[in-house]
Protein backbone atom coordinates (compact mmCIF):
# COMPACT_ATOMS: atom_id res chain seq x y z
CA UNK A 1 0.00 0.00 0.00
CA UNK A 2 1.30 3.44 -0.90
CA UNK A 3 2.21 5.61 2.06
CA UNK A 4 0.33 8.86 2.33
CA UNK A 5 1.96 11.49 4.57
CA UNK A 6 -0.57 12.98 6.95
CA UNK A 7 1.60 14.77 9.53
CA UNK A 8 4.93 16.41 8.80
CA UNK A 9 7.02 17.93 11.55
CA UNK A 10 10.05 19.87 10.29
CA UNK A 11 12.66 21.12 12.72
CA UNK A 12 10.02 22.02 15.26
CA UNK A 13 11.10 23.68 18.51
CA UNK A 14 8.82 24.84 21.26
CA UNK A 15 9.75 26.95 24.25
CA UNK A 16 7.71 28.20 27.21
CA UNK A 17 8.45 30.90 29.68
CA UNK A 18 8.73 29.26 33.10
CA UNK A 19 9.65 31.39 36.13
CA UNK A 20 11.00 34.11 33.87
CA UNK A 21 13.20 31.71 31.86
CA UNK A 22 12.56 30.07 28.52
CA UNK A 23 12.12 26.32 28.84
CA UNK A 24 12.79 24.43 25.62
CA UNK A 25 10.22 21.62 25.51
CA UNK A 26 10.94 20.48 21.94
CA UNK A 27 14.28 20.76 20.16
CA UNK A 28 14.47 20.60 16.38
CA UNK A 29 12.06 17.68 15.97
CA UNK A 30 11.66 16.05 12.55
CA UNK A 31 8.88 13.49 12.10
CA UNK A 32 6.63 12.12 9.44
CA UNK A 33 3.43 10.16 10.03
CA UNK A 34 1.56 8.36 7.30
CA UNK A 35 -2.14 7.66 7.03
CA UNK A 36 -3.28 4.71 9.10
CA UNK A 37 -0.33 4.60 11.47
CA UNK A 38 -0.79 3.39 15.05
CA UNK A 39 2.13 5.19 16.61
CA UNK A 40 3.15 6.40 20.02
CA UNK A 41 5.42 9.01 21.45
CA UNK A 42 6.94 7.66 24.62
CA UNK A 43 9.20 9.12 27.19
CA UNK A 44 9.39 10.32 30.78
CA UNK A 45 7.42 13.24 32.15
CA UNK A 46 8.61 16.56 30.75
CA UNK A 47 10.10 14.98 27.64
CA UNK A 48 7.76 16.99 25.38
CA UNK A 49 5.25 14.26 24.40
CA UNK A 50 2.11 16.25 25.17
CA UNK A 51 3.60 19.43 23.68
CA UNK A 52 4.16 17.65 20.41
CA UNK A 53 0.65 16.22 20.47
CA UNK A 54 -0.80 19.68 21.17
CA UNK A 55 1.03 21.15 18.19
CA UNK A 56 -0.21 18.36 15.93
CA UNK A 57 -3.72 18.93 17.34
CA UNK A 58 -3.48 22.67 16.48
CA UNK A 59 -4.00 23.58 20.13
CA UNK A 60 -0.53 25.08 20.22
CA UNK A 61 1.94 26.49 17.72
CA UNK A 62 5.65 25.76 17.27
CA UNK A 63 8.09 28.48 18.29
CA UNK A 64 10.36 27.49 15.42
CA UNK A 65 10.04 25.12 12.49
CA UNK A 66 6.98 23.96 10.60
CA UNK A 67 4.20 21.53 11.41
CA UNK A 68 1.92 20.43 8.59
CA UNK A 69 -1.19 18.47 9.44
CA UNK A 70 -3.28 17.37 6.49
CA UNK A 71 -1.25 19.84 4.42
CA UNK A 72 -2.22 22.72 6.69
CA UNK A 73 0.53 24.80 8.25
CA UNK A 74 -0.30 24.88 11.96
CA UNK A 75 1.78 28.01 12.46
CA UNK A 76 -0.30 30.12 10.10
CA UNK A 77 -3.77 28.82 10.98
CA UNK A 78 -6.20 31.32 12.45
CA UNK A 79 -8.24 30.36 15.55
CA UNK A 80 -11.20 29.66 13.30
CA UNK A 81 -9.23 27.55 10.81
CA UNK A 82 -7.62 25.59 13.64
CA UNK A 83 -11.05 24.99 15.20
CA UNK A 84 -12.35 23.74 11.85
CA UNK A 85 -9.33 21.43 11.44
CA UNK A 86 -9.97 19.93 14.90
CA UNK A 87 -13.69 19.72 14.39
CA UNK A 88 -13.58 17.79 11.12
CA UNK A 89 -10.25 15.95 11.09
CA UNK A 90 -8.81 15.48 14.56
CA UNK A 91 -10.23 13.50 17.47
CA UNK A 92 -8.85 13.91 20.99
CA UNK A 93 -8.70 11.37 23.78
CA UNK A 94 -7.51 12.71 27.11
CA UNK A 95 -6.00 11.10 30.17
CA UNK A 96 -8.86 12.27 32.43
CA UNK A 97 -11.52 11.70 29.75
CA UNK A 98 -12.72 15.35 29.74
CA UNK A 99 -16.33 14.39 29.29
CA UNK A 100 -18.83 17.20 29.66
CA UNK A 101 -20.42 16.44 33.03
CA UNK A 102 -23.93 17.76 32.44
CA UNK A 103 -24.39 15.89 29.15
CA UNK A 104 -25.41 12.29 28.73
CA UNK A 105 -23.16 9.77 27.00
CA UNK A 106 -25.17 10.28 23.80
CA UNK A 107 -24.88 14.08 24.03
CA UNK A 108 -21.15 13.94 24.76
CA UNK A 109 -20.56 11.85 21.66
CA UNK A 110 -22.97 13.97 19.63
CA UNK A 111 -21.23 17.24 20.53
CA UNK A 112 -18.68 17.27 17.67
CA UNK A 113 -21.44 16.53 15.17
CA UNK A 114 -23.51 19.44 16.48
CA UNK A 115 -20.61 21.72 15.61
CA UNK A 116 -20.63 20.25 12.09
CA UNK A 117 -24.31 21.15 11.66
CA UNK A 118 -25.34 17.59 10.75
CA UNK A 119 -29.04 16.74 10.73
CA UNK A 120 -30.58 15.11 13.81
CA UNK A 121 -31.02 11.84 11.92
CA UNK A 122 -27.40 11.79 10.73
CA UNK A 123 -26.22 12.61 14.22
CA UNK A 124 -28.26 9.87 15.84
CA UNK A 125 -27.04 7.26 13.37
CA UNK A 126 -23.42 8.31 13.77
CA UNK A 127 -23.58 8.45 17.57
CA UNK A 128 -25.19 5.02 17.85
CA UNK A 129 -22.62 3.61 15.44
CA UNK A 130 -19.78 5.09 17.50
CA UNK A 131 -21.27 3.77 20.73
CA UNK A 132 -21.60 0.35 19.11
CA UNK A 133 -17.86 0.43 18.24
CA UNK A 134 -17.04 0.90 21.90
CA UNK A 135 -19.85 -1.35 23.19
CA UNK A 136 -21.78 1.31 25.06
CA UNK A 137 -25.13 1.53 23.25
CA UNK A 138 -26.90 0.58 26.49
CA UNK A 139 -25.32 3.53 28.32
CA UNK A 140 -26.43 6.25 25.90
CA UNK A 141 -28.75 7.94 28.42
CA UNK A 142 -26.33 7.88 31.35
CA UNK A 143 -24.42 10.83 32.71
CA UNK A 144 -20.59 10.55 32.95
CA UNK A 145 -20.73 10.44 36.76
CA UNK A 146 -22.57 7.09 36.50
CA UNK A 147 -19.81 5.48 34.43
CA UNK A 148 -16.67 3.62 35.46
CA UNK A 149 -13.26 4.87 34.35
CA UNK A 150 -13.09 2.31 31.54
CA UNK A 151 -16.57 3.22 30.34
CA UNK A 152 -15.75 6.93 30.47
CA UNK A 153 -12.67 6.42 28.32
CA UNK A 154 -14.69 4.37 25.85
CA UNK A 155 -17.15 7.28 25.63
CA UNK A 156 -14.17 9.55 24.96
CA UNK A 157 -13.06 7.20 22.15
CA UNK A 158 -16.58 7.22 20.71
CA UNK A 159 -16.59 11.02 20.90
CA UNK A 160 -13.24 11.17 19.10
CA UNK A 161 -14.30 8.62 16.46
CA UNK A 162 -17.90 9.69 15.81
CA UNK A 163 -16.88 12.23 13.20
CA UNK A 164 -14.60 9.65 11.55
CA UNK A 165 -11.54 11.90 11.79
CA UNK A 166 -8.35 11.30 9.87
CA UNK A 167 -6.26 11.57 13.03
CA UNK A 168 -6.88 10.63 16.67
CA UNK A 169 -4.55 12.06 19.29
CA UNK A 170 -4.60 10.17 22.57
CA UNK A 171 -2.78 11.73 25.50
CA UNK A 172 -2.03 9.08 28.14
CA UNK A 173 -5.35 7.35 27.46
CA UNK A 174 -4.73 4.48 29.85
CA UNK A 175 -3.18 6.40 32.73
CA UNK A 176 -6.36 6.35 34.79
CA UNK A 177 -7.45 2.82 33.94
CA UNK A 178 -6.77 -0.57 35.44
CA UNK A 179 -4.93 -3.18 33.34
CA UNK A 180 -8.06 -4.97 32.16
CA UNK A 181 -9.78 -1.77 31.05
CA UNK A 182 -6.56 -0.48 29.47
CA UNK A 183 -6.31 -3.58 27.28
CA UNK A 184 -9.97 -3.33 26.33
CA UNK A 185 -9.53 0.31 25.31
CA UNK A 186 -6.40 -0.41 23.33
CA UNK A 187 -8.00 -3.35 21.54
CA UNK A 188 -10.93 -1.12 20.60
CA UNK A 189 -8.62 1.58 19.24
CA UNK A 190 -6.54 -0.95 17.34
CA UNK A 191 -9.72 -2.39 15.82
CA UNK A 192 -10.89 1.06 14.72
CA UNK A 193 -7.45 1.79 13.27
CA UNK A 194 -7.63 -1.37 11.18
CA UNK A 195 -11.27 -1.01 10.15
CA UNK A 196 -11.43 2.73 9.46
CA UNK A 197 -7.83 3.47 8.58
CA UNK A 198 -7.69 6.26 11.15
CA UNK A 199 -4.22 7.42 12.19
CA UNK A 200 -3.74 7.02 15.94
CA UNK A 201 -1.04 8.93 17.71
CA UNK A 202 -0.41 8.27 21.40
CA UNK A 203 1.50 10.05 24.05
CA UNK A 204 2.31 7.53 26.74
CA UNK A 205 4.80 5.96 29.07
CA UNK A 206 2.54 2.97 29.74
CA UNK A 207 4.15 -0.39 28.86
CA UNK A 208 0.73 -1.84 28.02
CA UNK A 209 0.18 0.75 25.31
CA UNK A 210 3.59 0.20 23.83
CA UNK A 211 2.71 -3.43 23.25
CA UNK A 212 -0.01 -2.41 20.82
CA UNK A 213 1.91 0.24 18.89
CA UNK A 214 3.30 -0.29 15.39
CA UNK A 215 5.77 2.54 15.80
CA UNK A 216 7.34 3.98 18.91
CA UNK A 217 9.10 7.33 18.98
CA UNK A 218 11.25 7.74 22.07
CA UNK A 219 11.48 11.32 23.25
CA UNK A 220 13.88 12.57 25.87
CA UNK A 221 14.49 16.18 26.89
CA UNK A 222 12.64 17.41 23.79
CA UNK A 223 14.71 15.36 21.36
CA UNK A 224 13.99 12.16 19.47
CA UNK A 225 16.08 9.44 20.98
CA UNK A 226 14.86 6.56 18.88
CA UNK A 227 12.18 5.98 16.22
CA UNK A 228 11.42 2.24 16.04
CA UNK A 229 8.98 0.40 13.79
CA UNK A 230 7.33 -2.69 15.37
CA UNK A 231 4.80 -5.39 14.43
CA UNK A 232 5.32 -4.89 10.71
Amino acid sequence: MEKEPIIQIKKVSKSYPIAGKEFLALKQIDLLFNKGEFAGIVGPSGSGKTTLLNIIGSLDKPTKGDAFVLNKDIKTLSHKEAASLRNFNIGFIFQVFNLLPVYTVFENVEFALLLQNNSAKQRKEAVMRALKWVGLTDHAGKRPDKLSGGESQRVAIARAMVKTPKIVLADEPTANLDAENAHEILKTMKKLNKELGTTFLFSTHDEKVMGYLDRIIHLRDGKIEKDEIKNK
Binding site: N54, L59, F88, F92, V102
Partner: protein, 384 residues
Protein backbone atom coordinates in the same frame (compact mmCIF):
# COMPACT_ATOMS: atom_id res chain seq x y z
CA UNK B 1 -26.40 30.81 17.89
CA UNK B 2 -29.11 28.12 18.05
CA UNK B 3 -26.53 25.56 19.18
CA UNK B 4 -25.12 27.89 21.84
CA UNK B 5 -28.64 28.55 23.13
CA UNK B 6 -29.36 24.83 23.29
CA UNK B 7 -26.06 24.14 25.05
CA UNK B 8 -26.60 27.05 27.44
CA UNK B 9 -29.98 25.68 28.54
CA UNK B 10 -28.46 22.22 28.92
CA UNK B 11 -25.51 23.55 30.95
CA UNK B 12 -27.75 25.60 33.23
CA UNK B 13 -30.22 22.79 33.83
CA UNK B 14 -27.25 20.54 34.52
CA UNK B 15 -25.87 22.98 37.11
CA UNK B 16 -29.12 22.65 39.14
CA UNK B 17 -28.65 24.42 42.52
CA UNK B 18 -26.33 27.14 41.20
CA UNK B 19 -28.82 27.92 38.46
CA UNK B 20 -31.79 27.77 40.81
CA UNK B 21 -30.25 30.29 43.21
CA UNK B 22 -29.35 32.77 40.48
CA UNK B 23 -32.70 32.40 38.81
CA UNK B 24 -34.53 32.81 42.12
CA UNK B 25 -32.72 36.07 42.97
CA UNK B 26 -33.22 37.44 39.47
CA UNK B 27 -36.89 36.45 39.35
CA UNK B 28 -37.41 38.23 42.68
CA UNK B 29 -35.94 41.38 41.14
CA UNK B 30 -38.25 41.00 38.14
CA UNK B 31 -41.36 40.74 40.31
CA UNK B 32 -40.41 43.55 42.71
CA UNK B 33 -39.41 45.96 39.94
CA UNK B 34 -42.63 45.34 38.01
CA UNK B 35 -44.73 45.55 41.17
CA UNK B 36 -43.19 48.78 42.50
CA UNK B 37 -43.45 50.39 39.07
CA UNK B 38 -47.04 49.24 38.72
CA UNK B 39 -47.88 50.83 42.08
CA UNK B 40 -46.38 54.13 40.88
CA UNK B 41 -48.31 53.88 37.61
CA UNK B 42 -51.46 52.99 39.54
CA UNK B 43 -50.96 56.00 41.80
CA UNK B 44 -50.25 58.20 38.78
CA UNK B 45 -53.46 57.14 37.03
CA UNK B 46 -55.59 57.29 40.19
CA UNK B 47 -54.21 60.69 41.24
CA UNK B 48 -54.77 62.17 37.79
CA UNK B 49 -58.29 60.76 37.54
CA UNK B 50 -59.25 61.97 41.02
CA UNK B 51 -57.68 65.39 40.51
CA UNK B 52 -59.59 65.87 37.24
CA UNK B 53 -62.87 64.61 38.68
CA UNK B 54 -62.69 66.45 41.99
CA UNK B 55 -60.55 69.53 41.42
CA UNK B 56 -59.41 70.40 37.92
CA UNK B 57 -62.29 69.62 35.61
CA UNK B 58 -61.20 70.63 32.12
CA UNK B 59 -59.05 73.46 33.43
CA UNK B 60 -59.19 76.58 35.58
CA UNK B 61 -59.88 80.17 34.61
CA UNK B 62 -58.19 82.12 37.39
CA UNK B 63 -58.56 85.77 38.28
CA UNK B 64 -55.32 87.59 37.61
CA UNK B 65 -55.13 88.79 41.22
CA UNK B 66 -55.77 85.34 42.66
CA UNK B 67 -53.01 82.85 43.32
CA UNK B 68 -54.32 79.50 44.63
CA UNK B 69 -51.00 78.97 46.45
CA UNK B 70 -50.94 82.38 48.14
CA UNK B 71 -53.57 82.92 50.89
CA UNK B 72 -52.83 86.68 50.89
CA UNK B 73 -54.49 86.94 47.47
CA UNK B 74 -57.83 85.55 48.67
CA UNK B 75 -59.11 88.88 49.97
CA UNK B 76 -58.89 90.81 46.70
CA UNK B 77 -58.31 88.02 44.20
CA UNK B 78 -61.74 87.92 42.60
CA UNK B 79 -63.55 89.46 39.71
CA UNK B 80 -66.92 89.75 38.08
CA UNK B 81 -68.09 86.77 36.08
CA UNK B 82 -67.51 87.53 32.38
CA UNK B 83 -70.75 87.67 30.48
CA UNK B 84 -71.67 85.25 27.69
CA UNK B 85 -69.04 82.67 28.59
CA UNK B 86 -70.32 79.11 28.49
CA UNK B 87 -69.07 76.00 30.28
CA UNK B 88 -67.66 77.64 33.39
CA UNK B 89 -68.53 77.09 37.05
CA UNK B 90 -67.58 80.00 39.36
CA UNK B 91 -65.78 79.36 42.63
CA UNK B 92 -65.39 82.09 45.19
CA UNK B 93 -62.91 81.67 48.02
CA UNK B 94 -63.07 83.55 51.32
CA UNK B 95 -61.19 83.15 54.56
CA UNK B 96 -63.16 82.30 57.70
CA UNK B 97 -62.82 80.77 61.14
CA UNK B 98 -64.90 77.98 62.63
CA UNK B 99 -65.19 77.14 66.32
CA UNK B 100 -65.74 73.41 66.77
CA UNK B 101 -65.83 72.57 70.49
CA UNK B 102 -64.66 76.08 71.28
CA UNK B 103 -61.40 75.85 69.31
CA UNK B 104 -60.71 78.34 66.54
CA UNK B 105 -59.73 76.82 63.24
CA UNK B 106 -58.96 78.80 60.08
CA UNK B 107 -60.75 77.56 57.02
CA UNK B 108 -61.40 78.56 53.42
CA UNK B 109 -65.03 78.98 52.53
CA UNK B 110 -65.52 77.88 48.96
CA UNK B 111 -68.64 78.93 47.17
CA UNK B 112 -69.71 76.69 44.32
CA UNK B 113 -72.90 76.37 42.33
CA UNK B 114 -75.00 73.63 43.89
CA UNK B 115 -76.15 72.67 40.38
CA UNK B 116 -72.69 72.04 38.98
CA UNK B 117 -71.94 68.64 37.47
CA UNK B 118 -68.33 69.09 36.39
CA UNK B 119 -66.81 68.12 39.70
CA UNK B 120 -67.73 65.03 41.71
CA UNK B 121 -68.42 67.15 44.78
CA UNK B 122 -71.89 66.25 46.14
CA UNK B 123 -73.10 69.87 45.82
CA UNK B 124 -76.65 68.83 44.92
CA UNK B 125 -77.32 68.24 48.60
CA UNK B 126 -76.65 71.95 49.30
CA UNK B 127 -79.65 72.85 47.18
CA UNK B 128 -81.87 70.14 48.66
CA UNK B 129 -81.10 70.97 52.28
CA UNK B 130 -83.63 72.94 54.34
CA UNK B 131 -80.91 74.30 56.66
CA UNK B 132 -80.15 78.03 56.60
CA UNK B 133 -76.39 77.61 56.03
CA UNK B 134 -75.89 74.10 54.65
CA UNK B 135 -72.26 73.13 53.91
CA UNK B 136 -70.33 70.04 52.94
CA UNK B 137 -66.86 69.10 54.13
CA UNK B 138 -64.37 66.37 53.32
CA UNK B 139 -63.45 63.49 55.60
CA UNK B 140 -60.01 64.94 56.41
CA UNK B 141 -61.46 68.20 57.74
CA UNK B 142 -64.21 66.22 59.48
CA UNK B 143 -61.53 64.14 61.23
CA UNK B 144 -59.35 67.09 62.23
CA UNK B 145 -62.30 69.16 63.52
CA UNK B 146 -64.21 66.15 64.88
CA UNK B 147 -67.25 67.30 62.96
CA UNK B 148 -69.76 64.83 61.59
CA UNK B 149 -72.69 64.92 59.23
CA UNK B 150 -75.60 66.73 60.98
CA UNK B 151 -73.33 68.73 63.28
CA UNK B 152 -73.57 72.49 63.57
CA UNK B 153 -70.57 74.75 63.95
CA UNK B 154 -70.15 78.46 64.46
CA UNK B 155 -68.40 80.41 61.69
CA UNK B 156 -67.02 83.91 61.52
CA UNK B 157 -66.12 85.67 58.28
CA UNK B 158 -65.63 89.12 56.83
CA UNK B 159 -67.80 90.66 54.14
CA UNK B 160 -66.60 92.81 51.24
CA UNK B 161 -66.31 95.82 53.52
CA UNK B 162 -64.14 93.95 56.01
CA UNK B 163 -66.90 93.74 58.57
CA UNK B 164 -66.94 90.59 60.70
CA UNK B 165 -70.09 88.52 60.70
CA UNK B 166 -70.90 85.17 62.29
CA UNK B 167 -73.47 82.42 62.00
CA UNK B 168 -74.05 78.72 62.47
CA UNK B 169 -73.19 76.28 59.65
CA UNK B 170 -74.89 72.91 59.27
CA UNK B 171 -72.75 70.04 58.03
CA UNK B 172 -75.16 68.31 55.63
CA UNK B 173 -72.67 65.85 54.18
CA UNK B 174 -69.12 64.58 54.65
CA UNK B 175 -67.65 63.47 51.34
CA UNK B 176 -64.87 61.00 50.84
CA UNK B 177 -62.29 62.18 48.34
CA UNK B 178 -58.62 61.46 47.71
CA UNK B 179 -57.70 65.02 46.71
CA UNK B 180 -56.52 66.88 49.82
CA UNK B 181 -56.73 70.26 48.09
CA UNK B 182 -60.51 70.25 48.08
CA UNK B 183 -60.78 68.70 51.53
CA UNK B 184 -58.10 69.95 53.98
CA UNK B 185 -59.41 73.15 55.63
CA UNK B 186 -62.07 73.67 52.96
CA UNK B 187 -65.78 74.21 53.58
CA UNK B 188 -68.02 74.05 50.51
CA UNK B 189 -71.13 76.22 50.43
CA UNK B 190 -73.59 77.26 47.72
CA UNK B 191 -72.05 80.25 45.92
CA UNK B 192 -75.33 82.19 46.06
CA UNK B 193 -75.27 81.87 49.84
CA UNK B 194 -71.59 82.98 49.95
CA UNK B 195 -72.31 85.94 47.69
CA UNK B 196 -75.10 86.88 50.10
CA UNK B 197 -72.84 86.41 53.16
CA UNK B 198 -69.96 88.45 51.73
CA UNK B 199 -71.79 90.94 49.59
CA UNK B 200 -69.72 89.86 46.59
CA UNK B 201 -72.56 89.16 44.16
CA UNK B 202 -71.44 87.57 40.84
CA UNK B 203 -67.81 87.57 41.88
CA UNK B 204 -65.51 84.57 41.53
CA UNK B 205 -61.91 83.76 42.41
CA UNK B 206 -61.65 81.24 39.61
CA UNK B 207 -63.76 79.05 37.37
CA UNK B 208 -63.81 75.35 36.70
CA UNK B 209 -64.29 74.92 32.97
CA UNK B 210 -65.86 72.01 31.14
CA UNK B 211 -65.15 70.68 27.67
CA UNK B 212 -67.57 73.15 26.07
CA UNK B 213 -65.37 76.02 27.16
CA UNK B 214 -63.60 77.83 24.37
CA UNK B 215 -60.56 79.78 25.42
CA UNK B 216 -61.50 83.36 24.55
CA UNK B 217 -59.17 86.21 25.40
CA UNK B 218 -60.70 87.30 28.71
CA UNK B 219 -59.04 90.28 30.28
CA UNK B 220 -58.26 89.83 34.00
CA UNK B 221 -58.58 86.04 33.75
CA UNK B 222 -55.82 83.52 33.10
CA UNK B 223 -56.63 80.11 31.69
CA UNK B 224 -54.77 77.07 32.99
CA UNK B 225 -55.47 73.92 31.02
CA UNK B 226 -56.01 70.51 32.61
CA UNK B 227 -52.55 69.51 31.38
CA UNK B 228 -50.93 72.51 33.05
CA UNK B 229 -52.75 71.84 36.31
CA UNK B 230 -51.71 68.19 36.24
CA UNK B 231 -48.08 69.06 35.59
CA UNK B 232 -47.11 69.57 39.22
CA UNK B 233 -48.72 66.25 40.11
CA UNK B 234 -46.91 64.49 37.27
CA UNK B 235 -43.63 66.14 38.27
CA UNK B 236 -44.08 64.90 41.81
CA UNK B 237 -44.83 61.35 40.68
CA UNK B 238 -41.89 61.40 38.28
CA UNK B 239 -39.66 62.57 41.11
CA UNK B 240 -40.94 59.68 43.25
CA UNK B 241 -40.30 57.30 40.37
CA UNK B 242 -36.74 58.55 40.05
CA UNK B 243 -36.07 58.05 43.74
CA UNK B 244 -37.61 54.58 43.53
CA UNK B 245 -35.35 53.70 40.63
CA UNK B 246 -32.52 53.64 43.20
CA UNK B 247 -34.32 50.72 44.86
CA UNK B 248 -34.73 48.96 41.50
CA UNK B 249 -31.09 49.64 40.75
CA UNK B 250 -30.02 48.05 44.02
CA UNK B 251 -32.27 45.04 43.50
CA UNK B 252 -31.04 44.57 39.98
CA UNK B 253 -27.44 45.08 41.06
CA UNK B 254 -27.75 42.28 43.65
CA UNK B 255 -29.18 39.91 41.05
CA UNK B 256 -26.62 40.90 38.43
CA UNK B 257 -23.82 40.57 40.94
CA UNK B 258 -24.92 36.98 41.53
CA UNK B 259 -24.73 36.32 37.78
CA UNK B 260 -21.38 38.12 37.47
CA UNK B 261 -20.02 36.13 40.38
CA UNK B 262 -21.27 32.87 38.87
CA UNK B 263 -19.71 33.75 35.52
CA UNK B 264 -16.34 34.55 37.07
CA UNK B 265 -16.47 31.32 39.07
CA UNK B 266 -17.58 29.37 36.00
CA UNK B 267 -14.67 30.59 33.94
CA UNK B 268 -12.25 29.59 36.69
CA UNK B 269 -13.90 26.30 37.59
CA UNK B 270 -14.89 25.21 34.10
CA UNK B 271 -11.47 25.65 32.50
CA UNK B 272 -11.28 21.97 31.58
CA UNK B 273 -14.71 22.19 30.00
CA UNK B 274 -13.69 25.31 28.06
CA UNK B 275 -10.53 23.53 26.89
CA UNK B 276 -12.60 20.53 25.83
CA UNK B 277 -14.98 22.72 23.82
CA UNK B 278 -12.02 24.24 22.00
CA UNK B 279 -10.36 20.85 21.46
CA UNK B 280 -13.59 19.47 20.03
CA UNK B 281 -13.60 22.22 17.44
CA UNK B 282 -15.54 25.07 18.94
CA UNK B 283 -14.05 28.46 18.15
CA UNK B 284 -13.15 30.68 21.11
CA UNK B 285 -15.73 33.18 19.93
CA UNK B 286 -18.43 30.52 20.13
CA UNK B 287 -17.32 29.57 23.64
CA UNK B 288 -17.49 33.25 24.67
CA UNK B 289 -20.95 33.39 23.09
CA UNK B 290 -22.00 30.22 24.91
CA UNK B 291 -21.00 31.63 28.31
CA UNK B 292 -22.64 34.98 27.52
CA UNK B 293 -25.85 33.26 26.48
CA UNK B 294 -25.76 31.20 29.67
CA UNK B 295 -25.94 34.50 31.57
CA UNK B 296 -28.80 35.72 29.41
CA UNK B 297 -30.62 32.43 29.86
CA UNK B 298 -30.62 33.10 33.62
CA UNK B 299 -32.83 36.09 32.93
CA UNK B 300 -35.11 34.06 30.65
CA UNK B 301 -35.45 31.33 33.29
CA UNK B 302 -36.01 34.05 35.92
CA UNK B 303 -38.75 35.46 33.74
CA UNK B 304 -40.43 32.04 33.59
CA UNK B 305 -40.00 31.40 37.32
CA UNK B 306 -41.03 34.97 38.17
CA UNK B 307 -44.18 34.52 36.08
CA UNK B 308 -45.19 31.41 38.00
CA UNK B 309 -45.46 33.24 41.31
CA UNK B 310 -45.46 36.84 40.06
CA UNK B 311 -48.54 36.67 37.85
CA UNK B 312 -50.84 35.28 40.59
CA UNK B 313 -49.37 37.87 42.97
CA UNK B 314 -49.98 40.69 40.47
CA UNK B 315 -53.56 39.52 39.87
CA UNK B 316 -54.20 39.31 43.61
CA UNK B 317 -52.73 42.78 44.21
CA UNK B 318 -54.74 44.29 41.36
CA UNK B 319 -57.87 43.00 43.11
CA UNK B 320 -57.11 43.91 46.73
CA UNK B 321 -54.84 46.89 46.00
CA UNK B 322 -51.96 48.23 48.03
CA UNK B 323 -53.12 49.94 51.27
CA UNK B 324 -51.61 53.34 52.01
CA UNK B 325 -51.13 54.24 55.68
CA UNK B 326 -53.30 57.19 56.83
CA UNK B 327 -50.19 59.25 57.66
CA UNK B 328 -49.09 59.13 54.03
CA UNK B 329 -52.49 60.38 52.88
CA UNK B 330 -51.92 63.68 54.69
CA UNK B 331 -48.94 64.54 52.53
CA UNK B 332 -51.01 67.02 50.53
CA UNK B 333 -51.03 65.04 47.31
CA UNK B 334 -53.84 63.01 45.80
CA UNK B 335 -53.39 59.61 47.40
CA UNK B 336 -56.13 57.04 47.85
CA UNK B 337 -56.52 54.69 50.86
CA UNK B 338 -55.74 51.86 48.50
CA UNK B 339 -53.72 52.09 45.31
CA UNK B 340 -54.46 49.56 42.61
CA UNK B 341 -51.37 48.65 40.60
CA UNK B 342 -51.49 49.13 36.85
CA UNK B 343 -49.44 46.69 34.77
CA UNK B 344 -48.78 48.35 31.45
CA UNK B 345 -47.33 46.49 28.48
CA UNK B 346 -44.59 49.13 28.25
CA UNK B 347 -43.66 48.65 31.92
CA UNK B 348 -43.46 44.86 31.64
CA UNK B 349 -41.55 44.92 28.34
CA UNK B 350 -39.12 47.57 29.55
CA UNK B 351 -38.42 45.61 32.74
CA UNK B 352 -37.87 42.38 30.81
CA UNK B 353 -35.58 44.10 28.31
CA UNK B 354 -33.62 45.89 31.06
CA UNK B 355 -33.03 42.68 33.00
CA UNK B 356 -32.14 40.58 29.92
CA UNK B 357 -29.79 43.20 28.48
CA UNK B 358 -28.10 43.84 31.86
CA UNK B 359 -27.72 40.09 32.49
CA UNK B 360 -26.20 39.67 29.02
CA UNK B 361 -23.73 42.49 29.60
CA UNK B 362 -22.58 41.23 33.01
CA UNK B 363 -22.21 37.75 31.52
CA UNK B 364 -20.23 38.98 28.55
CA UNK B 365 -17.71 41.00 30.57
CA UNK B 366 -16.08 38.04 32.36
CA UNK B 367 -16.66 35.71 29.38
CA UNK B 368 -14.31 37.84 27.23
CA UNK B 369 -11.45 36.28 29.21
CA UNK B 370 -12.13 32.96 27.46
CA UNK B 371 -10.87 34.41 24.18
CA UNK B 372 -7.44 34.86 25.79
CA UNK B 373 -7.23 31.45 27.49
CA UNK B 374 -4.51 29.03 26.49
CA UNK B 375 -6.47 25.88 25.51
CA UNK B 376 -3.58 23.60 26.48
CA UNK B 377 -3.59 24.90 30.05
CA UNK B 378 -7.38 25.03 30.07
CA UNK B 379 -7.54 21.33 29.16
CA UNK B 380 -5.43 20.55 32.18
CA UNK B 381 -7.75 22.66 34.31
CA UNK B 382 -4.94 25.07 35.24
CA UNK B 383 -6.12 28.45 36.52
CA UNK B 384 -5.14 31.26 34.14
Amino acid sequence: MKLELKLAFKNLFGARLRTLLNVLVLSFSFVIIIFLNSIMDGWDQQAQKDSIEWEFGNGHLINEKFDPLDPYTILDGHGKIPEGTNGIIPILERQASIYPQGRMISVILKGISSEQTILKLPTKILKESKEEFPVIIGKRLAESTKLNKGDKVQIRWRDSNGTYDANILSIVDVFDCNVPNIDNGKIWIDINKLWEMTNLKHKASYFIVDNKFKDPELSSWNFKSQLTLLKSLKDLINQKKTSQSVVYGLLLAIALLAIFDTQILSIFRRQKEIGTYIALGMTRLRVVRLFTIEGSVYSILALILGSTYGVPFFIYMSEVGFPIPPADQKMGIALADVIYPVYGVKLVLMTILTVIISATIVSYLPARKIAKLNPVLALKGKKQ
